[in-house]
C-alpha cells in the first residue's frame, strides 16, 4: 500500500512526471532556438536547464488578478482542472515497466477522453475570462478539436486494432512478442497522422491557432496571470510529455529494449525516455519547419486529407490483422 502511494507520488508518479515534463520543455525550446541559429535559454542553470522551472516559480510569485468581468468559478476551477487531467493521463504511461501506475484493459480510451476533456477545459477557461480575444481563442480551440480529434483517435485505435488490445500494456506486449515496433509497417502512416494531430492537440505551430499571438493577443489565456498562467503552462508541458510518451509507447515499443537482470526498472525508464525524446524531437522539427495555418485551412485540411487517410489506414490495418 505504502509503496503504491510512493509510486504514484514520486517515481514514476507526480514528481518524476513534473520534472521530466519541465525538462522536455527545455529540450523543445533549446532545440527550437538552435534550429533557428539562436542560442536559446542559457543563463538559468547549466545550458539554461532550469529555465522552465524559473518561469514556473516566477509565475507562482506574481500578482494574482481576477478581472471584474470574469466568471469567478470557472476562472478558479479551470487552471486546477487542466493540469490534473493531463497528469492523470500521464499516470497510464508504462515508464518503469510494462505497467503504468494505473493499468487496466481499455486505458487507451481513457487517455483519449482525458485529452478531449482538457481541450474542453481550455474552452471553458477562455469563455470564463469574458474577454473578446479569449472568447475567439476558446471558440477556435473547440473548433480545432472537431478537426483533429477523430483522426487522432483513429490513428491510436489503428495501433490497438493491429495488436488486438485496447490497453497500453497489451500493445507493448504485442510489440515484444512480434519482435518489431509498430512503426515498422503500415502504422508508419498512423504515426504521421499522430504527429500532425498531436501538434493540434498541444496547440503548437502550425496549429497554434487558438493562441495566435499576432491576431488575437494570447488567445484563450489572455486574462490569466501569475499562478493560473503558470498552471496552464505546466499543462502544456505535461501534454508534451503525455503525447511524446504515448507516441513512443504505441509506435516505438515504449519501455522495450535489451535488459540486464536486476536493473529492469532503470533500463525500462531509460528506454522509455530515450524513445519519447525521439518523438519530442519530431514534434519540435514540425514546429520549426511550418508556419501557422488559418482556422479554415486547418479544418479543411483535417477533413479533406487527414480524415480519409485515417480511414484508409483503418481499412489496411483491418485487412492485414
Amino acid at each position: 500500500m505504502i509503496w503504491k502511494i510512493l509510486e504514484a507520488l514520486i517515481f514514476p508518479g507526480a514528481v518524476f512526471i513534473l520534472t521530466v515534463s519541465l525538462f522536455y520543455e527545455w529540450i523543445d525550446r533549446k532545440l527550437y532556438a538552435r534550429l533557428q541559429n539562436r542560442v536559446g535559454p542559457h543563463l538559468a542553470g547549466p545550458f539554461g536547464l532550469f529555465q522552465p522551472a524559473a518561469d514556473f516559480i516566477k509565475l507562482l510569485s506574481k500578482e494574482d488578478i481576477i478581472p471584474a468581468a470574469a466568471d469567478r468559478f470557472l476562472f478558479t476551477l479551470t487552471p486546477i482542472l487542466a493540469p490534473t487531467l493531463i497528469l492523470l493521463g500521464c499516470m497510464f504511461l508504462p515508464v518503469a515497466g510494462l505497467n503504468g501506475i494505473v493499468s487496466f484493459n481499455g486505458d487507451l480510451i481513457v487517455i483519449i477522453a482525458l485529452m478531449s476533456f482538457c481541450t474542453i477545459t481550455i474552452y471553458l477557461a477562455g469563455e470564463g475570462s469574458n474577454n473578446r480575444f479569449a472568447s475567439i481563442g476558446a471558440t477556435r480551440a473547440a473548433l480545432q478539436l472537431i478537426g483533429y480529434e477523430i483522426p487522432l483517435t483513429l490513428a491510436l485505435l489503428c495501433a490497438a486494432i493491429s495488436t488486438g488490445s485496447l490497453s497500453l500494456r497489451g500493445i507493448v506486449e504485442a510489440q515484444m512478442a512480434n519482435g518489431t515496433w509498430l512503426i515498422a509497417g503500415p502504422q508508419l502512416i498512423g504515426f504521421a497522422i499522430f504527429v500532425v494531430a498531436s501538434q493540434a492537440e498541444m496547440e503548437r505551430i502550425p496549429f497554434d491557432i487558438p493562441e495566435a499571438e499576432q491576431e488575437i493577443v494570447a488567445g484563450w489565456s489572455v486574462e490569466y496571470t501569475g499562478r493560473r498562467l503558470g498552471l496552464f503552462r505546466l499543462t502544456k508541458d505535461l501534454e508534451l510529455f503525455l503525447l511524446s510518451g504515448l507516441g513512443a509507447t504505441l509506435f516505438l515499443g515504449g519501455p522495450l529494449g535489451p535488459l540486464i537482470p536486476g536493473l529492469e526498472p532503470l533500463l525500462h525508464t531509460i528506454y522509455f525516455l530515450a524513445k519519447s525524446i525521439l518523438v519530442l524531437i519530431v514534434f519540435t522539427l514540425v514546429r520549426t519547419v511550418f508556419a501557422r495555418l488559418r482556422i479554415d485551412q486547418m479544418i479543411s485540411f483535417s477533413w479533406k486529407y487527414l480524415m480519409p487517410l485515417a480511414i484508409f489506414l483503418v481499412i489496411i490495418t483491418e485487412v492485414i490483422a
Binding site: 522551472a53 516559480i57 500578482e63
Partner: protein
C-alpha cells in the same frame, strides 16, 4: 533575505517576459528592439519571451513619444500588468520626448506618465543598448528592490 525570497528573486531575474508598446514612435526603435529577438542578439538567452498580453508580461518596453492619444492607453496597459512590473523607456523620444519636446500633443518623456526603471538613449536605440539596459535591470531585480 530568506532562502525562498532569494530563490524567487533569482527566478524573476532569469525569466523576464517583455511586452512591446509603441506610443507613436516612427517605427525605427520598434525595429531595433525587435532585432534583439533575432539570432544575432537572441534575447532568449536571458529567458526573455515576447508576450502579446500585458497580463503575462513582467517588463513593459515602450518606444516613442507619449502622445495625448496614447497616454490613457499606456496607463491602462501598465495597470493591467501584474506586480512586480518594470518599465523600460527605449529611445530618446520615450526617455525625454526627443524632437517632440515641448510639442502641444506630447508629454515630456514616459516618466511623466508612469514610473520608469531603465532608460535607453539613442535615435533609434541600438539592440546592444537594449540588451545592456535589460541586463542592468535584471541585476537590479536580483540584487536590490526596484
Amino acid at each position: 533575505m530568506g532562502l525562498v525570497a532569494r530563490l524567487v528573486r533569482k527566478c524573476r531575474a532569469r525569466s523576464p517576459w517583455i511586452l512591446l508598446f509603441d506610443t507613436g514612435a516612427c517605427n525605427a526603435c520598434d525595429i531595433e528592439v525587435a532585432a534583439c529577438l533575432t539570432p544575432r542578439y537572441d534575447v532568449e538567452r536571458f529567458g526573455t519571451l515576447l508576450r502579446g498580453s500585458p497580463r503575462h508580461a513582467d517588463i513593459l518596453v515602450v518606444t516613442g513619444p507619449v502622445t495625448r492619444q496614447s497616454r490613457d492607453r499606456i496607463i491602462r496597459i501598465y495597470e493591467q500588468m501584474p506586480e512586480p512590473k518594470y518599465v523600460v523607456a527605449a529611445g530618446t523620444c520615450a526617455t525625454s520626448g526627443g524632437v517632440y519636446w515641448g510639442c502641444y500633443n506630447t508629454y515630456p518623456g514616459l516618466d511623466s506618465v508612469i514610473p520608469v526603471h531603465a532608460y535607453v538613449s539613442g535615435c533609434p536605440v541600438k539592440p546592444e543598448a537594449v540588451l545592456m539596459a535589460l541586463s542592468i535591470l535584471l541585476e537590479k531585480i536580483e540584487k536590490v528592490e526596484v
